[in-house]
Symmetry: C2
Subunit: 171 residues, 2 copies
């Protein structure tokens, strides 16, 4: 027996995005306690030439939905990139999870050998589906989810790895 | 057709650890150019109560090798946690990759339903193999690899996402 492409793409992304939603909620609560304007956290960066928290969350959602859509040969929903609050970012995550959960498992049957093209600036990256998932989609989603966590952590929000791994549950 | 547990565990970890090796090399070169003692970078943290770069790299290696070993019901190699230089950390990564590449693909046949126990402080977490890979092993490895990258990035090393995703290659 082997495992489905759905299990290692959509299900993995639903799990980590759900935890990101929890991490953002803790960030919002912490800002309220410390009387910090949440927009300060949303605009925070780990380096002047890195993207701020809002963009990290938006991109995590986009790569998750667009990657699964590519693997399933479906059209992903488009979001406006107009979120200005933690609550709106959490709604974007919820909409992304809704899309991922609505993709039929069967739509990813055979996706491991599908030809995938990803626009990247002036280049177009080409992969087979499994390679795309291993080397591009999974690392990319976790890059942005972890960086979002690290931005909040760096700004003093009381988070621990359990929040990242299990949304504060026991795992 | 479906995909093997090996492809979504060992191969994914070999890829991201190889990129981490490249990221560390760039960190070392950057420290030399800026005349920064590399131990400053190795001890750098994103928050006072987060682990420094050295520990992030050690733990990324440990979770990768221990997770695949658990899935394969093999004994993983033990490392001493005594690295004091970037070169030594890169050697640890290389030894981890050697182990992962040496695990027979067939050792993970059926690993998706294997019972996995993970000691976590005073608790023991229990998973089925697929759930362990989706919710624990993959997120955990990427958490530490991304945090290592973010520590260097936060300290002014000239890294971009292409370094993280593809070790500076075109992807």
């Amino acid at each position: 027996m082997k495992v489905s492409m759905y299990a290692l793409s959509a299900q993995v992304f639903v799990n980590t995005l759900g935890n990101l939603c929890w991490v953002l909620e803790k960030g919002g609560n912490n800002a309220a306690q410390r009387k910090i304007d949440p927009s300060v956290l949303l605009g925070a960066r780990l380096a002047p030439d890195m993207l701020p928290l809002t963009r990290q969350v938006q991109i995590a959602c986009d790569i998750a939905k667009n990657s699964v859509a590519r693997l399933a040969a479906l059209e992903p929903p488009r979001f406006e990139d107009n979120e200005t609050s933690i609550e709106q970012l959490r709604t974007r995550i919820a909409r992304t999870i809704d899309f991922l959960e609505g993709v039929p498992v069967s739509a990813l049957d055979g996706a491991e050998t599908r030809d995938i093209k990803v626009p990247a600036g002036e280049r177009t990256l080409e992969f087979k589906g499994l390679d795309f998932l291993q080397r591009w989609a999974i690392p990319n989603v976790f890059f942005h989810v972890t960086t979002a966590y690290n931005i909040l952590r760096h700004n003093g929000v009381d988070l621990g790895k359990r929040d990242f791994i299990a949304g504060g549950r026991d795992a």
